[in-house]
Protein backbone atom coordinates (compact mmCIF):
# COMPACT_ATOMS: atom_id res chain seq x y z
CA UNK A 1 0.00 0.00 0.00
CA UNK A 2 1.25 3.37 -0.92
CA UNK A 3 1.90 5.94 1.72
CA UNK A 4 -0.49 8.38 0.14
CA UNK A 5 -4.14 8.12 1.00
CA UNK A 6 -5.15 9.61 -2.30
CA UNK A 7 -3.29 10.58 -5.46
CA UNK A 8 -4.42 12.47 -8.51
CA UNK A 9 -1.91 11.85 -11.25
CA UNK A 10 -1.80 14.09 -14.32
CA UNK A 11 -5.52 14.73 -14.36
CA UNK A 12 -6.79 16.55 -17.44
CA UNK A 13 -10.31 17.53 -18.33
CA UNK A 14 -11.49 19.05 -21.59
CA UNK A 15 -14.84 20.52 -22.46
CA UNK A 16 -14.83 20.52 -26.24
CA UNK A 17 -11.96 22.79 -27.19
CA UNK A 18 -11.66 24.31 -23.75
CA UNK A 19 -8.91 22.91 -21.57
CA UNK A 20 -10.38 23.11 -18.10
CA UNK A 21 -7.63 21.15 -16.37
CA UNK A 22 -4.24 20.08 -17.67
CA UNK A 23 -1.85 17.70 -15.96
CA UNK A 24 -2.90 18.42 -12.42
CA UNK A 25 -1.17 16.24 -9.87
CA UNK A 26 -1.92 16.16 -6.15
CA UNK A 27 -0.96 13.70 -3.44
CA UNK A 28 -2.33 13.61 0.08
CA UNK A 29 -1.40 11.67 3.17
CA UNK A 30 -3.63 10.95 6.12
CA UNK A 31 -3.87 13.92 8.40
CA UNK A 32 -2.71 16.32 5.74
CA UNK A 33 -4.45 19.51 4.74
CA UNK A 34 -3.80 20.55 1.21
CA UNK A 35 -5.04 23.93 0.15
CA UNK A 36 -6.01 24.32 -3.44
CA UNK A 37 -5.59 27.95 -4.36
CA UNK A 38 -6.63 29.73 -7.45
CA UNK A 39 -8.45 32.76 -8.68
CA UNK A 40 -11.85 32.62 -10.31
CA UNK A 41 -11.70 30.59 -13.51
CA UNK A 42 -8.54 28.75 -12.51
CA UNK A 43 -10.31 25.39 -12.75
CA UNK A 44 -11.11 24.88 -9.10
CA UNK A 45 -14.75 23.93 -9.68
CA UNK A 46 -13.84 21.47 -12.42
CA UNK A 47 -11.29 19.86 -10.17
CA UNK A 48 -13.79 19.56 -7.31
CA UNK A 49 -16.34 17.98 -9.60
CA UNK A 50 -13.72 15.54 -10.84
CA UNK A 51 -12.86 14.66 -7.25
CA UNK A 52 -16.53 14.22 -6.41
CA UNK A 53 -17.20 11.92 -9.34
CA UNK A 54 -19.40 14.37 -11.25
CA UNK A 55 -16.89 14.63 -14.11
CA UNK A 56 -14.69 11.82 -15.34
CA UNK A 57 -11.13 12.92 -16.08
CA UNK A 58 -10.15 12.68 -19.75
CA UNK A 59 -6.56 11.90 -18.88
CA UNK A 60 -4.76 10.77 -15.79
CA UNK A 61 -5.69 8.53 -12.91
CA UNK A 62 -7.07 8.64 -9.41
CA UNK A 63 -5.37 6.36 -6.91
CA UNK A 64 -6.92 5.70 -3.53
CA UNK A 65 -4.91 3.79 -0.94
CA UNK A 66 -2.66 2.44 -3.66
CA UNK A 67 -5.46 1.29 -5.94
CA UNK A 68 -6.36 2.87 -9.23
CA UNK A 69 -9.98 3.96 -9.16
CA UNK A 70 -12.52 5.27 -11.62
CA UNK A 71 -15.59 7.12 -10.34
CA UNK A 72 -18.63 6.49 -12.49
CA UNK A 73 -20.93 8.63 -10.37
CA UNK A 74 -20.89 10.88 -7.30
CA UNK A 75 -22.10 7.90 -5.34
CA UNK A 76 -18.95 5.93 -6.28
CA UNK A 77 -16.82 8.75 -4.93
CA UNK A 78 -18.86 8.80 -1.73
CA UNK A 79 -18.52 5.05 -1.32
CA UNK A 80 -14.75 5.36 -1.72
CA UNK A 81 -14.71 7.83 1.14
CA UNK A 82 -14.51 11.12 -0.74
CA UNK A 83 -16.80 13.47 1.13
CA UNK A 84 -17.46 16.65 -0.80
CA UNK A 85 -18.99 19.66 0.92
CA UNK A 86 -20.21 22.03 -1.77
CA UNK A 87 -20.53 25.73 -1.34
CA UNK A 88 -24.33 25.50 -1.06
CA UNK A 89 -23.79 22.88 1.69
CA UNK A 90 -26.88 20.81 0.74
CA UNK A 91 -28.67 21.97 3.87
CA UNK A 92 -32.35 22.86 4.02
CA UNK A 93 -32.82 25.92 6.25
CA UNK A 94 -36.41 25.07 7.17
CA UNK A 95 -35.52 21.60 8.39
CA UNK A 96 -34.14 20.75 11.80
CA UNK A 97 -30.49 20.10 12.56
CA UNK A 98 -31.20 16.40 12.96
CA UNK A 99 -33.30 16.08 9.84
CA UNK A 100 -30.57 17.81 7.85
CA UNK A 101 -27.80 15.77 9.39
CA UNK A 102 -29.43 12.51 8.34
CA UNK A 103 -31.07 13.76 5.15
CA UNK A 104 -31.13 10.89 2.67
CA UNK A 105 -29.50 8.51 5.15
CA UNK A 106 -31.97 8.32 8.01
CA UNK A 107 -31.44 5.70 10.71
CA UNK A 108 -34.39 3.31 10.88
CA UNK A 109 -35.95 1.19 13.58
CA UNK A 110 -38.87 -1.18 13.88
CA UNK A 111 -40.08 -4.29 12.06
CA UNK A 112 -39.61 -4.74 8.32
CA UNK A 113 -42.11 -2.83 6.14
CA UNK A 114 -43.02 -0.67 9.12
CA UNK A 115 -39.60 0.83 9.64
CA UNK A 116 -39.70 4.32 11.07
CA UNK A 117 -37.18 7.12 11.25
CA UNK A 118 -35.39 6.65 14.56
CA UNK A 119 -35.59 10.30 15.50
CA UNK A 120 -34.43 9.85 19.10
CA UNK A 121 -31.24 8.14 18.01
CA UNK A 122 -30.75 10.68 15.24
CA UNK A 123 -31.25 13.59 17.66
CA UNK A 124 -28.75 12.08 20.05
CA UNK A 125 -26.10 11.50 17.39
CA UNK A 126 -26.59 14.93 15.85
CA UNK A 127 -26.33 16.67 19.22
CA UNK A 128 -23.29 14.60 20.14
CA UNK A 129 -21.52 15.31 16.86
CA UNK A 130 -22.25 19.00 17.04
CA UNK A 131 -21.10 18.98 20.64
CA UNK A 132 -17.77 17.54 19.59
CA UNK A 133 -17.20 20.54 17.37
CA UNK A 134 -18.07 22.80 20.24
CA UNK A 135 -21.45 23.86 18.90
CA UNK A 136 -23.95 23.47 21.66
CA UNK A 137 -27.15 22.56 19.90
CA UNK A 138 -29.59 23.17 22.68
CA UNK A 139 -32.33 21.60 20.69
CA UNK A 140 -31.45 19.43 17.69
CA UNK A 141 -34.99 19.93 16.38
CA UNK A 142 -34.35 23.63 15.83
CA UNK A 143 -34.25 24.70 12.20
CA UNK A 144 -30.88 24.97 10.50
CA UNK A 145 -31.96 28.44 9.39
CA UNK A 146 -31.40 29.65 12.94
CA UNK A 147 -27.72 28.69 12.85
CA UNK A 148 -24.89 30.97 11.83
CA UNK A 149 -23.02 30.47 8.58
CA UNK A 150 -20.03 28.95 10.34
CA UNK A 151 -22.19 26.57 12.29
CA UNK A 152 -23.90 25.46 9.10
CA UNK A 153 -20.55 24.85 7.46
CA UNK A 154 -19.43 22.81 10.44
CA UNK A 155 -22.67 20.84 10.36
CA UNK A 156 -22.12 19.96 6.70
CA UNK A 157 -18.52 18.93 7.36
CA UNK A 158 -19.47 16.96 10.42
CA UNK A 159 -22.13 15.15 8.41
CA UNK A 160 -19.62 14.20 5.71
CA UNK A 161 -17.24 12.83 8.35
CA UNK A 162 -19.97 10.92 10.15
CA UNK A 163 -20.96 9.19 6.92
CA UNK A 164 -17.49 7.83 6.38
CA UNK A 165 -15.45 10.45 4.55
CA UNK A 166 -11.74 9.68 4.55
CA UNK A 167 -10.94 12.52 2.22
CA UNK A 168 -12.80 15.76 2.81
CA UNK A 169 -13.19 18.07 -0.14
CA UNK A 170 -14.28 21.50 1.05
CA UNK A 171 -15.38 24.02 -1.53
CA UNK A 172 -14.76 27.60 -0.36
CA UNK A 173 -15.81 26.83 3.21
CA UNK A 174 -14.93 30.30 4.48
CA UNK A 175 -15.80 32.51 1.54
CA UNK A 176 -19.08 33.84 2.92
CA UNK A 177 -17.98 34.04 6.54
CA UNK A 178 -16.69 36.73 8.83
CA UNK A 179 -13.37 36.43 10.62
CA UNK A 180 -14.74 34.82 13.75
CA UNK A 181 -16.91 32.33 11.88
CA UNK A 182 -14.13 31.49 9.45
CA UNK A 183 -11.69 30.75 12.24
CA UNK A 184 -14.26 28.47 13.84
CA UNK A 185 -14.57 26.48 10.63
CA UNK A 186 -10.81 26.36 10.08
CA UNK A 187 -10.26 25.17 13.64
CA UNK A 188 -12.65 22.35 12.98
CA UNK A 189 -10.90 21.47 9.73
CA UNK A 190 -7.57 21.19 11.56
CA UNK A 191 -9.20 19.01 14.18
CA UNK A 192 -10.66 16.71 11.53
CA UNK A 193 -7.24 16.34 9.93
CA UNK A 194 -5.64 15.56 13.27
CA UNK A 195 -8.06 12.66 13.55
CA UNK A 196 -6.60 11.14 10.41
CA UNK A 197 -8.60 12.59 7.56
CA UNK A 198 -7.05 14.05 4.47
CA UNK A 199 -8.50 17.45 3.65
CA UNK A 200 -8.54 19.28 0.36
CA UNK A 201 -9.44 22.87 1.09
CA UNK A 202 -10.41 24.87 -1.93
CA UNK A 203 -10.22 28.60 -1.54
CA UNK A 204 -9.08 31.83 -3.09
CA UNK A 205 -8.27 33.30 0.28
CA UNK A 206 -4.59 32.81 1.08
CA UNK A 207 -5.04 34.33 4.53
CA UNK A 208 -7.46 31.59 5.46
CA UNK A 209 -5.47 28.86 3.80
CA UNK A 210 -1.96 29.64 4.98
CA UNK A 211 -2.36 29.10 8.73
CA UNK A 212 -4.03 25.70 8.38
CA UNK A 213 -2.47 24.15 5.28
CA UNK A 214 0.38 21.68 5.24
CA UNK A 215 0.87 22.04 1.53
CA UNK A 216 -0.44 24.31 -1.17
CA UNK A 217 -1.30 23.64 -4.76
CA UNK A 218 -1.79 26.67 -6.92
CA UNK A 219 -4.00 26.46 -9.97
CA UNK A 220 -3.81 29.01 -12.72
CA UNK A 221 -5.79 28.78 -15.94
CA UNK A 222 -6.33 25.05 -15.58
CA UNK A 223 -2.72 24.21 -14.85
CA UNK A 224 -1.04 23.44 -11.60
CA UNK A 225 1.82 25.80 -10.79
CA UNK A 226 3.09 23.13 -8.43
CA UNK A 227 2.60 21.89 -4.90
CA UNK A 228 4.60 23.51 -2.14
CA UNK A 229 5.19 22.56 1.45
CA UNK A 230 4.54 25.24 3.97
CA UNK A 231 8.20 25.58 4.94
CA UNK A 232 9.17 26.24 1.34
CA UNK A 233 6.88 29.12 0.61
CA UNK A 234 5.67 32.30 2.29
CA UNK A 235 2.22 33.75 2.32
CA UNK A 236 3.30 36.58 0.06
CA UNK A 237 4.86 34.22 -2.46
CA UNK A 238 1.63 32.22 -2.57
CA UNK A 239 -0.38 35.35 -3.05
CA UNK A 240 1.99 36.40 -5.79
CA UNK A 241 1.56 33.10 -7.55
CA UNK A 242 -2.18 33.32 -7.80
CA UNK A 243 -3.27 35.32 -10.79
CA UNK A 244 -4.31 38.16 -8.55
CA UNK A 245 -0.78 38.57 -7.21
CA UNK A 246 0.69 40.55 -10.05
CA UNK A 247 -2.35 42.71 -10.29
CA UNK A 248 -2.26 43.40 -6.58
CA UNK A 249 1.37 44.50 -6.92
CA UNK A 250 0.38 46.78 -9.73
CA UNK A 251 -2.50 48.13 -7.67
CA UNK A 252 -0.13 48.84 -4.81
CA UNK A 253 2.19 50.77 -7.05
CA UNK A 254 -0.65 52.76 -8.49
CA UNK A 255 -1.99 53.61 -5.06
CA UNK A 256 1.42 54.77 -3.92
CA UNK A 257 1.60 56.93 -6.99
CA UNK A 258 -1.74 58.50 -6.14
CA UNK A 259 -0.71 59.13 -2.56
CA UNK A 260 2.45 60.82 -3.71
CA UNK A 261 0.54 63.10 -6.03
CA UNK A 262 -2.00 63.98 -3.36
CA UNK A 263 0.69 64.84 -0.91
Amino acid sequence: MSENLIEFNNISKFFGKVIALKDVTMKLKKGEIMCLLGDNGAGKSTLIKTLAGVHKPDEGEIVIEGEKTVFDSPKDALDMGIGTVYQDLALVPLMSVTRNFFMGREPLKGPPFLKTFDIEKANQIAAERMGQIGIDVRDPSQAVGTMSGGERQCLAISRAIYFGAKVLVLDEPTSALGVHQASMVLKYVVKAASQGLAVILITHNVHHAYPVGNSFTVLNRGKSLGTFNKKDISREELLGMMAGGEELDKLEVELEEMNRINN
Binding site: P74, A90, L94, M103, G104, T116, A127, E128, V137, A143
Partner: protein, 375 residues
Protein backbone atom coordinates in the same frame (compact mmCIF):
# COMPACT_ATOMS: atom_id res chain seq x y z
CA UNK B 1 -11.45 11.64 22.03
CA UNK B 2 -11.39 9.89 25.39
CA UNK B 3 -14.44 8.15 26.80
CA UNK B 4 -14.49 10.62 29.62
CA UNK B 5 -14.69 13.53 27.27
CA UNK B 6 -17.42 11.79 25.32
CA UNK B 7 -19.49 11.25 28.42
CA UNK B 8 -19.12 14.88 29.37
CA UNK B 9 -20.33 15.93 25.96
CA UNK B 10 -23.26 13.60 25.95
CA UNK B 11 -24.22 14.82 29.41
CA UNK B 12 -23.93 18.35 28.25
CA UNK B 13 -26.13 17.79 25.24
CA UNK B 14 -28.77 15.52 26.68
CA UNK B 15 -29.08 16.64 30.27
CA UNK B 16 -30.12 20.23 29.83
CA UNK B 17 -31.40 22.31 32.65
CA UNK B 18 -35.13 22.52 33.11
CA UNK B 19 -35.42 26.24 32.54
CA UNK B 20 -33.97 26.02 29.05
CA UNK B 21 -36.17 23.12 28.13
CA UNK B 22 -39.35 24.92 29.09
CA UNK B 23 -38.49 27.90 26.97
CA UNK B 24 -37.66 25.74 23.99
CA UNK B 25 -40.95 23.86 24.37
CA UNK B 26 -42.89 27.09 24.16
CA UNK B 27 -40.80 28.16 21.20
CA UNK B 28 -41.34 24.79 19.63
CA UNK B 29 -45.09 25.26 19.89
CA UNK B 30 -44.92 28.77 18.46
CA UNK B 31 -42.88 27.49 15.56
CA UNK B 32 -45.22 24.68 14.62
CA UNK B 33 -46.80 25.22 11.19
CA UNK B 34 -50.30 24.25 12.34
CA UNK B 35 -50.45 26.89 15.08
CA UNK B 36 -52.34 29.39 12.94
CA UNK B 37 -54.95 26.91 11.78
CA UNK B 38 -55.59 25.53 15.26
CA UNK B 39 -55.95 29.06 16.62
CA UNK B 40 -58.19 30.01 13.70
CA UNK B 41 -60.42 26.99 14.26
CA UNK B 42 -60.82 27.88 17.93
CA UNK B 43 -61.80 31.45 16.97
CA UNK B 44 -64.31 30.14 14.43
CA UNK B 45 -65.91 27.89 17.03
CA UNK B 46 -66.07 30.68 19.57
CA UNK B 47 -67.64 32.96 16.95
CA UNK B 48 -70.34 30.48 15.96
CA UNK B 49 -70.80 29.47 19.57
CA UNK B 50 -71.83 33.06 20.30
CA UNK B 51 -73.69 33.85 17.07
CA UNK B 52 -75.32 30.50 16.38
CA UNK B 53 -75.04 28.64 19.67
CA UNK B 54 -78.80 28.23 20.07
CA UNK B 55 -79.68 27.42 16.46
CA UNK B 56 -78.92 23.72 16.32
CA UNK B 57 -75.63 24.13 14.53
CA UNK B 58 -73.91 22.32 17.37
CA UNK B 59 -76.59 19.65 17.80
CA UNK B 60 -75.53 16.11 16.89
CA UNK B 61 -77.08 16.50 13.44
CA UNK B 62 -75.63 19.96 12.83
CA UNK B 63 -72.20 18.98 14.04
CA UNK B 64 -72.05 15.91 11.81
CA UNK B 65 -73.17 18.09 8.95
CA UNK B 66 -70.27 20.54 9.15
CA UNK B 67 -67.87 17.74 10.06
CA UNK B 68 -68.89 15.89 6.90
CA UNK B 69 -68.22 18.93 4.73
CA UNK B 70 -64.90 19.58 6.49
CA UNK B 71 -63.89 15.94 6.23
CA UNK B 72 -64.49 15.74 2.50
CA UNK B 73 -62.40 18.82 1.91
CA UNK B 74 -59.85 17.59 4.46
CA UNK B 75 -59.16 14.35 2.60
CA UNK B 76 -57.94 16.24 -0.47
CA UNK B 77 -56.43 19.10 1.54
CA UNK B 78 -54.10 16.71 3.37
CA UNK B 79 -52.85 15.18 0.13
CA UNK B 80 -52.47 18.68 -1.35
CA UNK B 81 -50.53 19.74 1.76
CA UNK B 82 -48.12 16.82 1.46
CA UNK B 83 -47.53 17.66 -2.18
CA UNK B 84 -46.98 21.32 -1.27
CA UNK B 85 -44.47 20.35 1.39
CA UNK B 86 -42.78 18.35 -1.36
CA UNK B 87 -42.56 21.57 -3.36
CA UNK B 88 -45.30 21.12 -5.98
CA UNK B 89 -48.95 21.96 -6.70
CA UNK B 90 -51.73 19.87 -8.14
CA UNK B 91 -54.46 21.91 -9.82
CA UNK B 92 -56.04 18.82 -11.34
CA UNK B 93 -57.52 17.53 -8.05
CA UNK B 94 -60.99 18.90 -8.80
CA UNK B 95 -61.04 17.47 -12.32
CA UNK B 96 -59.75 14.17 -10.99
CA UNK B 97 -62.78 14.04 -8.67
CA UNK B 98 -65.14 14.33 -11.65
CA UNK B 99 -63.09 11.85 -13.66
CA UNK B 100 -62.96 9.29 -10.83
CA UNK B 101 -66.73 9.63 -10.43
CA UNK B 102 -67.47 8.54 -13.97
CA UNK B 103 -64.74 5.88 -13.79
CA UNK B 104 -66.91 4.30 -11.11
CA UNK B 105 -70.35 5.01 -12.55
CA UNK B 106 -70.00 4.20 -16.26
CA UNK B 107 -68.47 0.71 -15.86
CA UNK B 108 -70.90 -0.10 -13.05
CA UNK B 109 -74.05 1.11 -14.82
CA UNK B 110 -73.32 0.77 -18.54
CA UNK B 111 -70.83 -2.06 -18.74
CA UNK B 112 -72.27 -4.21 -15.99
CA UNK B 113 -69.07 -4.39 -13.92
CA UNK B 114 -69.52 -5.19 -10.25
CA UNK B 115 -69.34 -1.95 -8.26
CA UNK B 116 -66.20 -3.01 -6.42
CA UNK B 117 -64.36 -3.66 -9.69
CA UNK B 118 -65.35 -0.18 -10.88
CA UNK B 119 -64.05 1.35 -7.67
CA UNK B 120 -60.73 -0.44 -8.03
CA UNK B 121 -60.67 0.67 -11.68
CA UNK B 122 -61.14 4.30 -10.59
CA UNK B 123 -58.24 4.04 -8.15
CA UNK B 124 -56.05 2.45 -10.81
CA UNK B 125 -56.85 5.36 -13.12
CA UNK B 126 -55.98 7.77 -10.29
CA UNK B 127 -52.57 6.16 -9.90
CA UNK B 128 -52.04 6.51 -13.65
CA UNK B 129 -53.09 10.18 -13.73
CA UNK B 130 -50.95 10.97 -10.68
CA UNK B 131 -47.98 9.15 -12.15
CA UNK B 132 -48.41 11.00 -15.43
CA UNK B 133 -48.59 14.38 -13.67
CA UNK B 134 -45.54 13.52 -11.62
CA UNK B 135 -43.37 12.18 -14.40
CA UNK B 136 -44.25 15.18 -16.56
CA UNK B 137 -43.22 17.63 -13.85
CA UNK B 138 -40.07 15.73 -12.90
CA UNK B 139 -38.89 15.02 -16.45
CA UNK B 140 -39.64 18.39 -18.03
CA UNK B 141 -38.72 20.50 -15.02
CA UNK B 142 -41.72 22.71 -15.85
CA UNK B 143 -43.61 24.31 -12.96
CA UNK B 144 -46.25 21.91 -11.68
CA UNK B 145 -48.65 24.85 -11.73
CA UNK B 146 -48.66 24.78 -15.55
CA UNK B 147 -48.52 21.03 -16.01
CA UNK B 148 -51.45 20.35 -13.69
CA UNK B 149 -53.39 23.34 -15.02
CA UNK B 150 -53.24 21.61 -18.39
CA UNK B 151 -54.36 18.41 -16.72
CA UNK B 152 -57.24 20.31 -15.09
CA UNK B 153 -58.66 21.09 -18.54
CA UNK B 154 -57.77 17.76 -20.13
CA UNK B 155 -59.38 15.67 -17.38
CA UNK B 156 -62.52 17.80 -17.09
CA UNK B 157 -62.94 17.86 -20.85
CA UNK B 158 -62.36 14.13 -21.19
CA UNK B 159 -64.81 13.44 -18.37
CA UNK B 160 -67.51 15.47 -20.10
CA UNK B 161 -66.81 14.11 -23.59
CA UNK B 162 -66.57 10.47 -22.58
CA UNK B 163 -69.70 10.63 -20.45
CA UNK B 164 -71.76 12.27 -23.17
CA UNK B 165 -70.40 9.84 -25.75
CA UNK B 166 -71.37 6.78 -23.75
CA UNK B 167 -74.48 7.93 -21.93
CA UNK B 168 -75.67 10.92 -23.92
CA UNK B 169 -75.97 12.87 -20.68
CA UNK B 170 -73.70 14.52 -18.13
CA UNK B 171 -75.00 12.62 -15.13
CA UNK B 172 -74.92 8.90 -14.39
CA UNK B 173 -77.51 7.95 -11.76
CA UNK B 174 -78.55 4.57 -10.40
CA UNK B 175 -75.62 3.60 -8.21
CA UNK B 176 -77.43 3.41 -4.90
CA UNK B 177 -78.96 -0.01 -5.51
CA UNK B 178 -75.52 -1.49 -6.20
CA UNK B 179 -74.03 -0.55 -2.84
CA UNK B 180 -75.75 -3.25 -0.83
CA UNK B 181 -73.70 -6.45 -0.37
CA UNK B 182 -70.79 -5.00 -2.32
CA UNK B 183 -67.48 -6.17 -0.79
CA UNK B 184 -65.80 -2.75 -1.08
CA UNK B 185 -68.44 -0.04 -1.40
CA UNK B 186 -69.35 -0.17 2.31
CA UNK B 187 -65.97 1.34 3.13
CA UNK B 188 -67.09 4.53 1.42
CA UNK B 189 -70.79 4.45 2.18
CA UNK B 190 -71.45 3.22 5.71
CA UNK B 191 -72.21 5.35 8.74
CA UNK B 192 -70.37 4.06 11.78
CA UNK B 193 -71.09 4.14 15.52
CA UNK B 194 -74.82 3.80 14.78
CA UNK B 195 -75.33 2.05 18.13
CA UNK B 196 -74.02 5.13 19.89
CA UNK B 197 -76.51 7.39 18.15
CA UNK B 198 -79.35 4.92 18.69
CA UNK B 199 -78.46 4.82 22.37
CA UNK B 200 -78.16 8.62 22.61
CA UNK B 201 -81.54 8.82 20.87
CA UNK B 202 -83.12 6.36 23.26
CA UNK B 203 -81.84 8.42 26.18
CA UNK B 204 -83.42 11.47 24.52
CA UNK B 205 -80.04 13.19 24.41
CA UNK B 206 -80.17 13.96 20.71
CA UNK B 207 -82.94 15.05 18.37
CA UNK B 208 -85.29 12.35 17.06
CA UNK B 209 -87.41 11.98 13.97
CA UNK B 210 -91.14 11.54 14.37
CA UNK B 211 -90.71 7.76 14.09
CA UNK B 212 -88.36 7.72 17.07
CA UNK B 213 -85.09 7.09 15.20
CA UNK B 214 -82.34 9.62 15.79
CA UNK B 215 -81.95 12.43 13.25
CA UNK B 216 -78.19 11.86 13.15
CA UNK B 217 -77.74 8.18 12.38
CA UNK B 218 -73.99 7.73 12.65
CA UNK B 219 -70.55 9.07 11.84
CA UNK B 220 -70.35 9.52 8.06
CA UNK B 221 -67.59 7.60 6.23
CA UNK B 222 -65.90 10.82 5.17
CA UNK B 223 -65.09 11.65 8.79
CA UNK B 224 -63.49 8.25 9.36
CA UNK B 225 -61.41 8.58 6.19
CA UNK B 226 -60.49 12.13 7.16
CA UNK B 227 -59.24 11.11 10.59
CA UNK B 228 -57.38 8.12 9.17
CA UNK B 229 -55.79 10.29 6.47
CA UNK B 230 -54.69 12.91 9.02
CA UNK B 231 -53.08 10.28 11.26
CA UNK B 232 -51.48 8.44 8.35
CA UNK B 233 -50.06 11.60 6.75
CA UNK B 234 -48.75 12.88 10.07
CA UNK B 235 -47.09 9.56 10.76
CA UNK B 236 -45.48 9.61 7.32
CA UNK B 237 -44.24 13.18 7.66
CA UNK B 238 -42.95 13.01 11.20
CA UNK B 239 -41.93 9.41 11.70
CA UNK B 240 -40.67 7.92 8.48
CA UNK B 241 -37.64 8.27 6.24
CA UNK B 242 -39.95 9.01 3.34
CA UNK B 243 -41.38 11.91 5.34
CA UNK B 244 -37.94 13.40 5.75
CA UNK B 245 -37.45 13.06 2.01
CA UNK B 246 -40.68 14.98 1.38
CA UNK B 247 -39.46 17.93 3.47
CA UNK B 248 -36.04 17.74 1.85
CA UNK B 249 -37.40 17.57 -1.72
CA UNK B 250 -39.54 20.64 -1.14
CA UNK B 251 -36.99 22.51 0.94
CA UNK B 252 -34.04 22.32 -1.43
CA UNK B 253 -34.25 20.07 -4.45
CA UNK B 254 -30.56 20.29 -5.33
CA UNK B 255 -29.33 19.84 -1.80
CA UNK B 256 -31.58 16.83 -1.34
CA UNK B 257 -30.37 15.30 -4.59
CA UNK B 258 -26.75 15.87 -3.57
CA UNK B 259 -27.14 13.85 -0.39
CA UNK B 260 -28.92 11.02 -2.14
CA UNK B 261 -32.64 11.73 -1.72
CA UNK B 262 -34.58 10.32 -4.73
CA UNK B 263 -36.39 13.63 -5.30
CA UNK B 264 -38.09 12.56 -8.53
CA UNK B 265 -39.58 9.43 -7.01
CA UNK B 266 -40.77 11.34 -3.96
CA UNK B 267 -42.57 13.93 -6.08
CA UNK B 268 -44.19 11.38 -8.37
CA UNK B 269 -45.52 9.46 -5.37
CA UNK B 270 -46.98 12.67 -3.94
CA UNK B 271 -48.80 13.41 -7.22
CA UNK B 272 -50.22 9.88 -7.06
CA UNK B 273 -51.27 10.73 -3.50
CA UNK B 274 -53.35 13.74 -4.53
CA UNK B 275 -55.04 11.82 -7.35
CA UNK B 276 -55.85 8.93 -5.02
CA UNK B 277 -57.20 11.34 -2.38
CA UNK B 278 -59.40 12.92 -5.07
CA UNK B 279 -60.70 9.44 -5.88
CA UNK B 280 -61.50 8.71 -2.23
CA UNK B 281 -63.41 12.01 -2.16
CA UNK B 282 -65.21 11.08 -5.40
CA UNK B 283 -66.10 7.56 -4.27
CA UNK B 284 -67.63 8.80 -1.02
CA UNK B 285 -69.64 11.51 -2.75
CA UNK B 286 -70.75 9.39 -5.71
CA UNK B 287 -71.96 6.58 -3.45
CA UNK B 288 -73.62 9.07 -1.11
CA UNK B 289 -75.44 10.82 -3.95
CA UNK B 290 -76.03 7.60 -5.88
CA UNK B 291 -74.93 9.32 -9.07
CA UNK B 292 -71.86 10.67 -10.80
CA UNK B 293 -71.83 14.16 -12.22
CA UNK B 294 -69.23 15.36 -14.71
CA UNK B 295 -68.96 18.70 -12.90
CA UNK B 296 -68.34 17.15 -9.49
CA UNK B 297 -65.29 18.51 -7.71
CA UNK B 298 -65.22 21.73 -9.72
CA UNK B 299 -62.83 24.25 -8.07
CA UNK B 300 -62.11 21.80 -5.24
CA UNK B 301 -58.37 21.97 -6.05
CA UNK B 302 -58.30 25.61 -5.04
CA UNK B 303 -60.18 24.97 -1.81
CA UNK B 304 -57.76 22.15 -1.01
CA UNK B 305 -54.76 24.39 -1.60
CA UNK B 306 -56.39 27.19 0.41
CA UNK B 307 -56.96 24.81 3.33
CA UNK B 308 -53.35 23.63 3.10
CA UNK B 309 -52.11 27.22 3.11
CA UNK B 310 -54.31 28.17 6.06
CA UNK B 311 -52.88 25.04 7.67
CA UNK B 312 -49.39 26.49 7.48
CA UNK B 313 -47.97 25.11 4.23
CA UNK B 314 -45.56 27.46 2.53
CA UNK B 315 -46.14 28.08 -1.17
CA UNK B 316 -42.42 27.60 -1.69
CA UNK B 317 -42.45 24.08 -0.23
CA UNK B 318 -40.50 22.37 2.50
CA UNK B 319 -42.71 23.43 5.36
CA UNK B 320 -46.17 22.55 6.60
CA UNK B 321 -48.15 19.86 8.34
CA UNK B 322 -51.01 17.46 7.74
CA UNK B 323 -52.67 18.41 11.02
CA UNK B 324 -52.58 22.04 9.92
CA UNK B 325 -54.30 21.19 6.63
CA UNK B 326 -56.89 19.18 8.58
CA UNK B 327 -57.67 22.23 10.74
CA UNK B 328 -57.68 24.44 7.66
CA UNK B 329 -60.36 22.18 6.17
CA UNK B 330 -62.26 22.23 9.46
CA UNK B 331 -62.31 26.04 9.38
CA UNK B 332 -63.68 26.15 5.84
CA UNK B 333 -66.19 23.37 6.44
CA UNK B 334 -67.46 24.91 9.67
CA UNK B 335 -67.84 28.38 8.18
CA UNK B 336 -69.47 27.16 4.97
CA UNK B 337 -72.13 25.30 6.98
CA UNK B 338 -72.25 27.67 9.94
CA UNK B 339 -73.03 30.65 7.78
CA UNK B 340 -76.50 29.12 7.12
CA UNK B 341 -77.23 29.37 10.85
CA UNK B 342 -76.45 33.07 10.96
CA UNK B 343 -78.19 36.07 9.42
CA UNK B 344 -75.25 36.56 7.09
CA UNK B 345 -75.93 35.99 3.40
CA UNK B 346 -74.11 32.82 2.25
CA UNK B 347 -72.70 34.76 -0.68
CA UNK B 348 -70.16 36.14 1.75
CA UNK B 349 -68.55 32.75 2.26
CA UNK B 350 -66.12 33.16 -0.63
CA UNK B 351 -65.12 36.57 0.71
CA UNK B 352 -64.32 34.95 3.99
CA UNK B 353 -62.38 32.15 2.26
CA UNK B 354 -60.22 34.63 0.41
CA UNK B 355 -59.63 36.86 3.43
CA UNK B 356 -58.73 33.84 5.54
CA UNK B 357 -56.17 32.77 2.98
CA UNK B 358 -54.60 36.21 2.79
CA UNK B 359 -54.26 36.39 6.55
CA UNK B 360 -52.80 32.90 6.59
CA UNK B 361 -50.17 33.68 3.97
CA UNK B 362 -49.04 36.81 5.82
CA UNK B 363 -48.97 34.90 9.09
CA UNK B 364 -47.06 31.96 7.57
CA UNK B 365 -44.49 34.30 6.16
CA UNK B 366 -43.94 35.72 9.60
CA UNK B 367 -43.62 32.24 11.11
CA UNK B 368 -41.11 31.23 8.49
CA UNK B 369 -39.02 34.26 9.31
CA UNK B 370 -39.18 33.33 12.98
CA UNK B 371 -38.11 29.77 12.29
CA UNK B 372 -35.23 30.56 10.00
CA UNK B 373 -33.96 33.88 11.19
CA UNK B 374 -34.32 33.91 14.94
CA UNK B 375 -30.92 34.18 16.52
Amino acid sequence: MSDKAKSIISKKTTGQDERLKEVSKLRLLLNRPELGAVGGAILVFIFFGIVAGDTGMFSAYGTLNFLDVSANLGIIAIAAAMLMIGGEFDLSIGSMIGFAGICIAIPAIYWGWPLWVSIIFAFAMAVLVGYFNGILVVRTGLPSFIVTLAMLFILRGATLAITRLITGRTQVPGLRVLIENDPIAWMFATDTFKWLFTWLGSMNLIALRTDGTPLATGIPPSVIWFIAATLFATWILMKTRYGNWIFASGGDKNGATNVGVPVGRVKISLFIGTAVAATIFATIQVLDAGSADTMRGNLKELEAIAAAVVGGCLLTGGYGSAIGAAFGALIFGTVSMGIFYTDVDTDWFKVFLGAMMLIAVVFNNYIRKRVTESK
